[in-house]
Each structure stands twice: as C-alpha cells, then as structure tokens.
Symmetry: C2
Subunit: 305 residues, 2 copies
C-alpha cells in the first residue's frame, strides 16, 4: 500500500492533494494507495474534509524504511519525517522551489510546476481520467485551489489555477465565492489555539544574513482577533523560535480581504529586516505591508538584513 | 536568450535533447533559446548531428550568474558547471535518480520520469505541437531513443520509449535498425581517442563502502578494438582516477550486440567488488558479465564491497 502525504502542519492543499492522488492511484491506476497526514490539519482543512464528505486521514509520525511513498506539496526534507530518504519514494508532485536534500534510489516520477497549488498540477496529470473523478475529489481540488490562491487574490495565482477552478466550480454547480468565504471563516477561527500553536501553524525556517527566522504566516478574514493577542504572541516567540533552532519568529498576519499583511515587530533585528526588506519606516510594535499576501512570492524573495 | 544544455561529456541524448528543446522554446513557445554543450560530443553524437543536418552547438565552460538556463538529461550538480546554482534555472527535464544539490530561487518546471531517454519525455511534453516539428528534430528524438536504449536492448527501455521511437520512425520513413547500426558503428570508432580520453568518455563517480570509483562505460559493437588496448588502459587508470578524486577506475566495455559487459580487473579491490556485486569468480584480468548493459539499472544498484 503506497502512502501519499504532504508536509508537516497540513493546510488544505497538503490535506486534500494526498486524498486526490490516493484516489487516482487506487481507482484509476489500480495501485492501492492511502492518504495520510503528518500532523493535525488546520481548521480550514478540517472544514474542507467535512464539507466534501471525507473522514480525516490517519496521522503518521514517521515512515518505514523501504515503504513505498508519494510526496506531494513539498520537496523539502525539513518538512518531512527524518527517515524520508530511507523510504521508497515513488513520486513527487509539488509547486515549491527545489531545495535539494531528497534523494531517490532510481529514476522516479517528479513533477514540479510553478503553479499556485498542487491540486492544479494533479488536474493536469490526471487529464481525461478526471471525467471519472467522484464529486468529492473534484470538490477537494476546487477547495485546494481557492485556499492556496486565497480566492485568486494571491500573486502566486496563475491563469491555469483560475481556469481549472472555474471549470470545476461549473462542473460541480458550486458558488466559488460562497465556498471560499466558508473556508476562510473556518481558517480565521483560531480561538481554540494557544499562542505557541498559532506561531507554529504555518511556519517555514529561513536564513537571512547570519540570522535564522521562523517565518509564520496566518491568513485570516479577522485580523483583529489575532492582533488582539499581540502581547501574548510576542511573549511566546522566544520559546517557539528556540524549538526550531531559529533566532526569532517573524509573524505576518495576512488580511485576505484587505490584501495586506501586518508584521509584528518585537525586536530591533526584526525592525531592521522589515525596514530594509519592505522599504518602510517602523515606528511601533507592528507594521502594515499593503499588498503583501504570499510568503513564497513577496516575503522570502525580498528578506534582507 | 535561454541556454539549454545537458551534462559534461555529452552523449547523443545530452547533445540532441538540448537542440530539441531549444527548437520547442524558440519556435513554439516564442522564447528565444540556444542549445549549447558542456564538452565535445562523442563520436555517435557527432554522427547524429551530421546525419540530421545540425551544426555542432557551441561549447560553454561555465554559466553566468543570473543567466536563464534549462538543464536536460541530468539533475546532478557534479555533472554541471560549478556556478550552476547561481544561474537562473528555469526548468529541468531528466530521467535520472534525484541526487539533490541543485537549488532554485523560486518554483520552476521540473519533469523527471523513469523513462530511458530525455527525448521521450520531451515528446510527451511537446504533445500535439510535435506536428510542427521539422524532420531534423524528429530525427534527433529517434536517435536519442535508439542511443539510450541501445536499440531497445537496454533494460532501461520502457514501452513508452519504444512506442515513441516506432511512431517517429514510421513518420520519418526511416529503418530504425539501419540507423542504429550506423550510430553504433560511429560510437565504436574510438581509434582517435587516447587511453585517458576513453576512460573519461562516459564516467560517473560513485562511492562503494569506503572507496570511490570512477565507473566508466564504453558501449561498442567492436569490443575487441577496445580490449586490445587493455594494458594501456589499465596503465592510464591511476591518473584518471586521481583527477576526479576517485580511488580507482572501473571500466565496463559493453558489447551492444552480444548484450554483455567485460569488466577490466586491474586490482584486488576491483576483483573483490566484481565478485561480491555480480556473483562471479574472477580468475584473470577481466571478467565477462552476461546481460549487463546498463550502469543505471544493472551496475550502480548492485555495487558492493
């Protein structure tokens, strides 16, 4: 049985894409496959599973040496179990930059495309067999695209992502705007999470000069709910940074509807990075960055110290 | 202008595939691209260029930082210029195992497939636009496949490689067997090369236990021509090994027609590796390995010490 999984801290794409590909392998390719998760899905992903009638896949903590696996939505060993290179990696489907570190024993299927969403790539790879996809699989695809593109607001959105989403919505008879609103509301309900959990929810480690940052992004339609916890979040940062071997946490609260990010500025180092990277003057303990929505396109590439 | 290139010591696939892809980018995608080489093509690749009416692409020694490049037929930084990660890598098309080491600044197009030949993958990626390909481009594709599959004898051959080659041959009105015979005759004419040049012609470094070997493969229809130079080849080995930081050279002379390899055994270490890896008893200074034709499938995976 092939295990299909995405990255740690699964979001909607890393939860939905394994289910889509496990369906394709099992039902179309007649190769038994199981979607699994590397952690608890976020609140949006949980809503999406329930909305389209899927049970939550089981969570695994490690992979077995020699076990067949398919990796989706990442090619970064830091976002995967420690033993990943000992597994029998059979395929990788991803839309992130190549970071190096994964190794395979022989030639395998690797498809990486500069699209907003893994599910969009799968739609292309599945091709004409999409006609056989059940409603739930098509629904997952649509939700993955709406999530990763922030309903086409993110600059990562390509015409292909948009066209695939529109075709799926028409096929399913679904109002995309209404679905996206429900998904974003689910993602924005973070009242159940501790401050540390919020900082770790969607975080990637990145080195800038001689400092290493844990760059956390929270996409929300209710930024006020998160920003009201500013002091407690800042207090939780040192421990969360240390846990991942980083020097500091940079928290970007992305307002999906206003299309802007608020960066918390708890230290002189983060103030220096913010001013240099985003060409702004920081006066208080946070700064608003108009138009900034994508870590991949608008944060990581400009960070400098 | 995008530069498209394969690996050092270009064989037919690493010479032909850049020309195929440069045609596709320039003529179909309207993105100017130039095929270049990372060294002098081997005698088979030279024959193929001439046969299909192509001038030899120019040879480059390094890449310029920030220059747009497409890498084909390898994903191994050891087989590419030292500055490769400073270039603007726009795409990778390959059929080798993922070795890690290449990094990109953002998400790009990466297509790796477990097929025998890069040109077969390109045929799939180009899709319906193949109808617009000139005769020379189709001919290059056919020659690349015949070369990498050793006219379908190599165990790396997949039904896809075979089907694409057969369709191209029918389309071109070409006798595949006749073309392959001419290509293999060209590859087998190694009289112009020094012993050291022969050892370096198609070599990949590989670690076995605590030793590192330069694993050289010479595919030929005239093994006697090479084996007659056995003593001189063995004498040239220490310097060629040292040049690449390897402990020893393992030279496999692959008889394409008899479908077997002769491994030179110049030292106790290579004898030990040969006996353990291929389950044979070595008595003289060489050993015949029936059925062994592919470094990727039949040599690298079994090597042990």
């Amino acid at each position: 049985m092939i295990q299909v999984f995405g990255h740690y801290s699964p979001d909607t794409d890393s939860t939905g894409s394994p289910l889509i590909w496990a369906w394709y392998l099992s039902d179309i390719k007649k190769t038994p496959a199981e979607a699994v998760l590397l952690g608890t899905p976020n609140t949006e992903a949980k809503f999406v599973l329930e909305h389209w009638g899927f049970a939550q896949p089981r969570i695994i903590n490690d992979v077995t040496a020699g076990a067949p696996v398919v990796i989706v939505d990442t090619n970064n060993p830091d976002e995967l179990p420690a033993g990943i290179n000992s597994a029998d990696i059979q395929a990788i489907i991803d839309h992130h930059k190549l970071v190096g570190g994964l190794e395979t024993k022989g030639p395998i299927d690797i498809t990486i495309r500069p699209l907003a969403c893994t599910a969009t790539i799968m739609h292309d790879l599945i091709g004409a067999d999409m006609a056989q996809a059940p409603r739930g699989v098509k629904g997952l695809m649509l939700s993955c695209i709406l999530s990763d593109t922030l309903e086409f607001r993110s600059p990562t959105t390509t015409p292909t992502d948009r066209a695939v989403a529109e075709a799926l919505a028409a096929d399913l008879g679904v109002d995309m705007h209404d679905l996206a609103a429900q998904m974003f509301a689910a993602k924005s309900d973070v009242s159940a999470f501790s401050d540390a959990e919020l900082l770790k929810m969607d975080a990637k480690k990145y080195a800038v000069g001689d400092k290493t940052f844990r760059i956390s992004v929270l996409e929300t339609t209710s930024p006020a709910q998160i920003l009201a916890r500013k002091d407690a979040l800042v207090a939780a940062m040192p421990e969360v940074a240390a846990e991942d071997g980083a020097d500091e946490v940079m928290l970007f609260v992305v307002d999906i509807l206003k299309e802007e990010a608020t960066l918390l500025v708890p230290s002189p180092v983060i103030r220096a990075v913010a001013e240099k990277s985003f060409n702004v003057t920081v006066t208080g303990d946070s700064v608003v960055l108009p138009g900034v929505m994508s870590r991949k396109k608008q944060i990581i590439p400009v960070l400098s110290l």
